[in-house]
C-alpha cells in the first residue's frame, strides 16, 4: 500500500499503518553486487572472466569485471551487457573520479565469444599517476586504456587501491555468473595468486549470492 499524505508527515512514529511498497515504474535505482575485494591496498588485480549472455531489462545492465577502487574513485575493466534488441556483451573500461561523470569506453575491436573466458587486469604502471586496463586477447596483453589521474589533485597519492573482482547487475537483470577468480594481485613488482592468505572481503546483495569454493577464491554465484 502506498500512502499519499497531502503534506509532509512530521511524526512518522505514529503512522503505524504505513507499510513498505515498491515503485510502479522501472527504477534503475541500485546495483546488486556479488564479489570479493581485498581488505588492504594493492597495486593491481587480474582474473579470468566467463562471458555469458544474461537477460537484461530496459534501463538495466549487467557486468562482470575486475577493478581497483580508492574511495569512490575507480578504474575497472571487463564486459557489460546493456538492454536492447541485438545487445551483446562488450568489452568496457570505466573510470570515475568521485563526484564526477563516469567515463566509459567500449572496445568492439575485441569481440567476445559467449561461453569463453577472457582475462582482464587493472594495475598501477609505476609511471606516476598512470593506471592501466588490459585484456588478454590473441595470446598477449592488449592495453585498453591508460588513465592519468594527475589532474585529480586530491587523488594524487593514489598508487594503490582495493582490488575487486565482481559480477554485478542492476535491478531485475540476471547475474552474469561468469567469474572464475583464479585471480592475481599485483604488489607493484610481481603478480601473486589471490589466495586466502590475503585478507579478503566477500560481499553480495540479495537475491544474489556467492561463496568461496577453495583457498584460491574460486567463487561460485547464484542469482535469479
Amino acid at each position: 500500500m502506498t500512502v499519499e499524505p497531502s503534506s509532509v508527515v512530521t511524526d512518522w512514529s505514529t503512522e503505524a499503518h504505513l507499510i513498505y511498497s515498491t515503485a510502479t515504474v522501472a527504477t534503475p535505482t541500485t546495483h546488486f553486487f556479488a564479489g570479493v575485494y581485498t581488505a588492504n591496498y594493492f597495486k593491481g588485480v587480474s582474473a579470468s572472466i566467463l562471458v555469458t549472455n544474461p537477460v537484461v531489462y530496459y534501463n538495466h545492465w549487467t557486468s562482470a569485471w575486475v577493478g581497483c577502487m580508492s574511495g569512490y574513485t575507480w578504474l575497472q575493466a571487463g564486459w557489460v551487457k546493456e538492454a536492447g534488441v541485438g545487445a551483446k556483451p562488450r568489452v568496457f573500461v570505466q573510470f570515475r573520479y568521485y563526484g564526477g561523470t563516469p567515463e566509459t569506453w567500449f572496445f568492439d575491436q575485441y569481440p567476445l565469444t559467449i561461453g569463453s573466458y577472457y582475462a582482464f587486469r587493472v594495475f598501477y604502471t609505476g609511471t606516476p599517476y598512470v593506471w592501466r586496463a588490459q585484456i588478454y586477447y590473441n595470446g598477449s596483453w592488449q592495453t585498453l586504456r591508460d588513465v592519468n589521474i594527475r589532474s585529480f589533485l586530491s587523488f594524487g597519492s593514489f598508487s594503490s587501491a582495493d582490488c575487486y573482482a565482481a559480477d554485478e547487475t542492476v535491478e531485475t537483470g540476471q547475474l552474469p555468473r561468469g567469474m572464475n577468480l583464479n585471480g592475481s594481485i599485483y604488489n607493484g613488482s610481481s603478480w601473486n595468486t589471490w589466495t586466502s592468505t590475503y585478507s579478503t572481503v566477500l560481499k553480495w546483495d540479495q537475491p544474489l549470492y556467492c561463496v568461496v569454493r577453495n583457498p584460491y577464491y574460486n567463487i561460485e554465484y547464484w542469482g535469479p
Partner: protein, 177 residues
C-alpha cells in the same frame, strides 16, 4: 421550503466558496487546476515499519515551464533504531528519476551505466536523518512521474554477510507547460 432547510442551504452555499479558496491555497495550484483535474501531490512518504526507515520527498511546485527547475527535498530518517548500519551505492544516497507517461526515463541523478562497486556502509543512528536537495530540470512539455528512491541496503540477519535492498521509493507527478 421550511425555514430550517433555508438556513441549511444558506450555510452550505456560504461555505462552498470558502472551501474552494482553502483547496486552492492548500495545493498551491491555480484555482482552475484544482477544479479541473486531480490535485497534484507535493509530498510523499513511505516507510519500512520493520526497519524503522522513512523516506520522504517534497517538491515545492508540481507545475512549471520548460527551462525552469523544481526543487526537491529528500530525506531518509531512522525512526526506531531497529537498524543502524546501512549501505549505499557509490556514495549516492538517493536517486531521482523522471519518467514520461510511456515510462521512458528522461532525466536522472544516477549517471547511465554507473557500474562502480559494492555499496558502502555507514551508520544512521536512531533519530538521525540524511537530507539532500536536488533541482529537477524541466526540459519537455508533458506530465512526468518523479521517482525518488534510496539506494540504502541493510545487512541480512546476523551470521550472514549479505545485504538486501530496502526498496523504499515514492512517486510524485510533475506537469510541464
Amino acid at each position: 421550503m421550511s425555514s430550517k432547510n433555508f438556513a441549511k442551504q444558506t450555510i452550505l452555499l456560504g461555505l462552498f466558496p470558502l472551501f474552494i479558496v482553502l483547496l486552492s491555497s492548500c495545493t498551491s495550484l491555480p484555482l482552475e487546476a484544482s477544479m479541473t483535474s486531480c490535485p497534484l501531490q507535493l509530498a510523499y512518504g513511505n516507510v519500512r515499519e520493520d526497519l524503522g526507515l522513512v523516506l520522504t520527498a517534497k517538491i515545492y511546485r508540481a507545475e512549471g515551464r520548460i527551462g525552469e527547475k523544481i526543487k526537491c527535498d529528500v530525506s531518509l530518517r531512522n525512526i526506531k533504531g531497529r537498524i543502524e548500519r546501512l549501505s549505499f551505492t557509490d556514495g549516492e544516497y538517493f536517486v531521482l528519476t523522471l519518467f514520461d507517461q510511456n515510462g521512458k526515463k528522461v532525466w536522472s541523478t544516477m549517471p547511465d551505466l554507473l557500474i562502480g562497486g559494492p555499496s558502502r556502509d555507514m551508520v544512521l543512528e536512531s533519530g538521525d536523518t540524511i537530507e539532500r536537495s536536488y533541482l529537477i530540470p524541466l526540459e519537455q512539455v508533458g506530465e512526468f512521474q518523479l521517482n525518488v528512491s534510496t539506494t540504502a541496503k541493510v545487512p541480512c540477519p546476523a551470521g550472514s554477510d549479505g545485504y538486501y535492498f530496502t526498496g523504499l521509493s515514492v512517486n510524485l507527478t510533475i506537469r510541464v507547460r
